[in-house]
Symmetry: C2
Subunit: 723 residues, 2 copies
């Protein structure tokens, strides 16, 4: 999908005048809610309610139609039944409207008739240069400019405060919950947009545009359907390059039932795995819980002000309670953080400030009541000593058992230190919110996150560190582009079916992947096997070749470690007999006689064509029991060697590959090469290649390479000819 340049949002979303078609005096109607919200928010522009039933509404003159409005109209909000929307859009076209928000439902979400109506509306809008949000959407609000072109939760109390976070959501109801969770923590917003059916402006377009908006520092999004996940990757990378965090929640990642996949690859990798990889590759920060939204916004706002941590993961914790520090350490380890080991000078500086029963190493235990006894200066000095340590990237301060007065005192030291702070400091406070309003407001002012649990502190720190590391690693990286290559004839001939092993391996050899020495004994020439297999060293693997039998070992189509001579002949005839008996309908091409490969560790390299994402490359422990190993990782293809190496490092079996338990190191370079080549092949033939399995890929000791002992390629059915 080719996307056009993002629209300039400040033009579209800051209208000087708004017409509401379908304005109403019924408080339950969307048109009423919008009109009312514009009044309560204090929108300063012109507002034109449109409804022939009323001479005026909520104290404003009401007009019978858009045509009757006296002044220019930048934005039209449409809240009339679906059938009337094309007519309204035509009026809008005549009035040179720039943006239409179509709240009305009854379009694509209802079936074919609705879809046709939606197409009609968009055609009229496109011809007139009108951009459209919706239909079937809650609309949008521009908080700093007091614009509300929305109904439902977006138009109601509580009013959001103005700020620098923008939200784009495919679910008005749930997505706006994320904004409310942030608002409860005092976080302000710039734009909030619910996209509905996305007939014109989609989530990705809007994220793209928000990244260009100078007033937006953080973009948050809730996504369900996504016709083009690569476009999301692209805006993710753009966000990373700009240093504007993109926080995303992907709903609908649970695989309902198993995939109907022919390959191991297809059953190993779930949709959640693919999206986790995609987000990671694009530097998108994944949200997993409502509280992640405010926590991560606070973390990133803190990082924007105190960026000194670089991409470091080394955390320190200072507590007056041993318990909260222990819990932080448990959680930090789970969040992928490391606990800083203080330099000796740091330990000495801290020890000099503590009572003898305190702990001057990380986690620092000040002992209960420390501030009361030693005073605020000593407390600030401990914090300074810890932050001065070059091995500390970020600090968690535990206010677990402070009194309200103690919490305020603690906040005051931090405010005094703020000018000198260079690294992010997070505060864990279990104080009742109502009793800590003052302290929390002081800390919010200097952008230090206050979170109600050490576990949430650790999670937010972990997300921050991963983002910062991704920014260092990925900034400037470009996504693969280009048009798909012409598919090799083998792929095209498959016409939407599985290729047999011989053809699958031929394709692999064509991109440089080594396969064992082997020969095909045609099914009508079984007696000639000795001659055909001459030159191939025994013992042998003997396998039926049939595009109709993807899982050949399941039905007796494979014999391994077969010696030369009579046993070979018997095995060849045996697999044919077994397949004739157990898969009578299968067309048998012949029997493949291969060198028996046994030396090496079994991996799986695969490709899966994930809807909306395209080719995904998979690496895992292989063999007959690949699924049971549960040791796999994936990336959106294509990938470079560094990314391939990162995949190897993520496997649980990586220590084996590096040489464990007295065994030699294996040829990881050769694995990396296969991953890069296969991923490039999958990308070049996207849309044609459906699945690919190399299983097992035997990895031999360093320098001795890899061998694809078995392979299976599945193609997509060709697109039906147009009629």
């Amino acid at each position: 999908m080719t996307r056009t340049a993002p629209p300039a949002l400040s033009d579209l979303l800051s209208p000087r005048s708004i017409a509401i078609v379908g304005a109403s005096d019924d408080p339950a109607r969307p048109g009423h809610e919008t009109l009312k919200a514009l009044a309560t928010m204090g929108y300063p522009g012109a507002v034109y309610p449109i409804n022939p039933k009323y001479p005026e509404l909520l104290g404003r003159p009401c007009f019978p139609s858009l045509d009757a409005v006296p002044g220019p109209v930048d934005l039209v909000v449409i809240a009339v039944p679906a059938a009337a929307v094309p007519g309204v859009m035509e009026q809008a076209a005549r009035r040179q409207v720039r943006l239409a928000v179509v709240m009305s439902g009854g379009f694509r979400e209802t079936g074919e008739t609705g879809a046709a109506l939606q197409d009609t509306v968009v055609e009229i809008a496109r011809a007139a240069g009108i951009r459209v949000i919706g239909p079937n959407c809650l609309g949008f609000a521009n908080i700093p400019d007091r614009v509300c072109a929305a109904f439902g939760s977006i138009s109601r109390v509580p009013r959001l405060a103005a700020g620098t976070v923008s939200l784009v959501t495919q679910s008005g109801g749930f997505g706006y919950s994320l904004a409310l969770a942030c608002a409860e923590e005092g976080i302000g917003f710039r734009y909030v947009i619910a996209t509905g059916n996305e007939a014109d402006l989609g989530c990705v377009d809007l994220i793209d545009a928000l990244l260009d908006d100078p007033g937006t520092e953080i973009v948050m999004t809730y996504l369900e359907g996504l016709p083009d996940a690569r476009a999301l990757m692209q805006v993710g990378r753009k966000a990373l390059a700009l240093g504007k965090p993109l926080l995303a929640w992907k709903g609908g990642v649970t695989d309902v039932g198993a995939r109907a996949a022919a390959t191991h690859t297809g059953s190993i990798v779930g949709r959640a795995d693919v999206y986790r990889a995609l987000f990671r590759q694009a530097g998108i920060v994944e949200l997993h819980e409502m509280s992640d939204a405010p926590d991560l916004v606070k973390a990133f706002q803190c990082h924007a002000r105190y960026p000194g941590m670089g991409s470091g993961r080394r955390a320190a914790v200072i507590g007056g309670s041993g318990g909260s520090a222990i819990v932080f350490c448990d959680a930090a380890s789970q969040a992928g953080l490391a606990l800083s080991e203080f330099q000796p000078e740091t330990v000495d500086r801290v020890a000099a400030l503590l009572p003898p029963i305190g702990s001057p190493t990380n986690p620092v235990d000040l002992t209960a009541g420390y501030i009361g006894i030693r005073g605020p200066k000593a407390y600030a000095d401990v914090i300074r000593a810890v932050l001065d340590d070059p091995g500390v990237d970020t600090l968690c301060l535990n206010f677990a058992s402070s009194s309200p007065a103690g919490t305020v005192a603690g906040a005051k030291f931090l405010v005094d230190m703020a000018a000198d702070l260079r690294k992010p400091v997070f505060v864990f406070s279990s104080m009742h919110k109502a009793l800590a309003v003052e302290a929390h407001a002081m800390l919010r002012e200097i952008r230090l996150p206050v979170l109600p649990s050490p576990v949430r502190v650790a999670k937010a720190m972990g997300a921050l560190a991963r983002w910062a590391a991704a920014r260092e690693a990925l900034a400037g990286a470009r996504l693969a582009g280009g048009t798909p290559a012409a598919a090799p004839s083998l792929l095209l001939q498959a016409e939407g079916r599985a290729l047999d092993e011989v053809s699958s391996k031929a394709l692999l050899r064509s991109i440089g992947v080594r396969t064992p020495g082997e020969a095909l004994v045609p099914v009508d020439a079984l007696a000639d096997a000795p001659g055909i297999a001459r030159g191939i060293d025994g013992p042998y693997a003997v396998k039926i070749v049939s595009a109709d039998i993807p899982h050949k070992s399941d039905i007796g189509g494979v014999r391994l470690s077969v010696p030369a001579g009579a046993p070979l002949q018997a095995a060849i005839e045996g697999v044919v007999a077994a397949c004739r008996e157990r898969a009578p309908a299968a067309r048998l091409q012949g029997v493949l006689v291969s060198e028996m490969v046994t030396d090496g560790f079994e991996l799986l390299v695969g490709v899966l064509d994930e809807p909306a994402v395209g080719p995904v490359i998979v690496l895992g422990q292989g063999g007959v029991f690949a699924e049971a190993m549960g040791d796999s990782t994936c990336r959106v293809a294509p990938i470079d060697a560094a990314e391939a190496r990162a995949m190897v490092d993520e496997l649980r079996c990586a220590p084996i590959l590096r040489g464990a338990r007295g065994l030699p190191a294996l040829d990881i370079d050769a694995v990396v090469e296969v991953l890069v080549d296969v991923s490039a092949f999958a990308w070049a033939h996207r849309g044609v290649l459906a699945e690919l399995d190399i299983n097992p890929l035997f990895v031999r000791p360093t320098g001795r390479g890899v061998v694809a002992a078995d392979a299976l390629v599945v193609t997509h059915a060709p697109a039906p000819a147009s009629h």
Copy 2:
């Protein structure tokens, strides 16, 4: 550790009179905080401040010593320097005090001198029949009876409301944060106890006693150190049998560095794994996050009122927003819930109540604004139809995008339905708390949990279902008891070292575990190998035997698949030579010549003696790369066959054992037998057996049993003779 019967808490913790030794007019002193809290809480009994410096304190007469107090004293709070505590305890003994809360620090936590002082204090108390909380603790509060024998956070605002949850915590600071998190959600408490050094009353004693307290319905605990985790299991089972949920947070589960273990078993299983297994076996509900505390209390209070779900995991969700239902489904799947599949009658009933674009199947989509359009009765009818479905165990109602008025309206329907409700109903509401006070209070009154995220609803439902299932499965189960058995001489002779493979296997055979045919060729009789190995079928496994070489394959001490004759002799001499070269200090007993076992799937069965827990039985995928498989599970030993079978089912490789990919089903019964027997052996010889590894344990097809191809037993060093 043998524990005595739990103390009757209502006697100890509901004193008619309280003396505070070390009362003070300095607001920063613990003695002041306690005195003040008693006044503000309105404690109705007699209060005696003790301090020779003051004639009166906070309006009460102050006494120079305990001896000078005119009336009887039930409880003494001690807040004087450590050195003065024995003297105070002696006075308390004379006054027939029943309970002493020693807040003072300076005891065991400071080193040997402090530990001796602590022992002195406890001796005095024990002799006089005084129970002790502390020393070095925040103390306790009895909320309904307005008793506060505490300082710090427990004595301060906010005051907890009275209720039926009791908290015992080893960390006053962090543990009390859990109470505050609950209080913020309107949850009331009965007792809150911080145990400090636990010189007399420990966490487990107190939990035990709280389970006997009629006023306590739920017990919550934060634990760090635990001298006897089996005692915790015991109170866990008691809690389960009584139907009083025990919610526990274990701090300090992160393994710092790898275990110094000789076996695979030791490196596969971490402390967090052991505690997860222990909690699960005892029906203890694990807390992982601060918000789990209020969420799970609400869930259990709901379940106490609407217990109709049994132990079911089948959840339904009704939403006005597609997004929140999708997010619930994603989270439910992760939380181990199943989505109910409605019966056709249910679908028909719901469909008749919905607009055509709604969804009458699970997740039910009411469509936006449903209540406004169809009215409250229709909404209640949808809920009834769903709850009437016998395939629905629990229901999540999403109020994601409701207005404050809509939320109140929704709450009202539920209140009207409460008398008929049989199954737990959870409400997800993203409404600002301040705007939903009325609705939330109504729902709290009828015990329906209102949680601020669908993910938290799913987690709480999952915990509830697991607890209910554990209650059905485990209620009445008894923990293993008895004294350790006399250890076999082989174990005793090892004297704290590893046994060689020959001895290790002999021990296994003694408990009925099959090992391969094999013979030991002594190192000084290598030339006699052909005669010694006669009767053992080749090919052979040839392995060095030395208690000094636990990982023999790492140094060339193993040759596999060795044919008979000259190759066998060469292999025997080869492994001796390799070990002489690479482990010159090792004492070599000889060379073990075994039948080569290759037919079967490789498992690992092991035992680990976890500090405070005792023997833990481990099952995992085995082989040289057992660690890299990362497929293991554990239980506190001993276990019965049902628990052993559950372990098998938890492995990722379970499908292989059951017969996958056209291969025969393997002998799971034989695996179960080994697990039960080894766990009984480990329990019988607890304190002697340190580690045990059977790796690989070859599992053959059903009926053909298992073979322990290699084994390693490690014993503890004998206890030093008393001096």
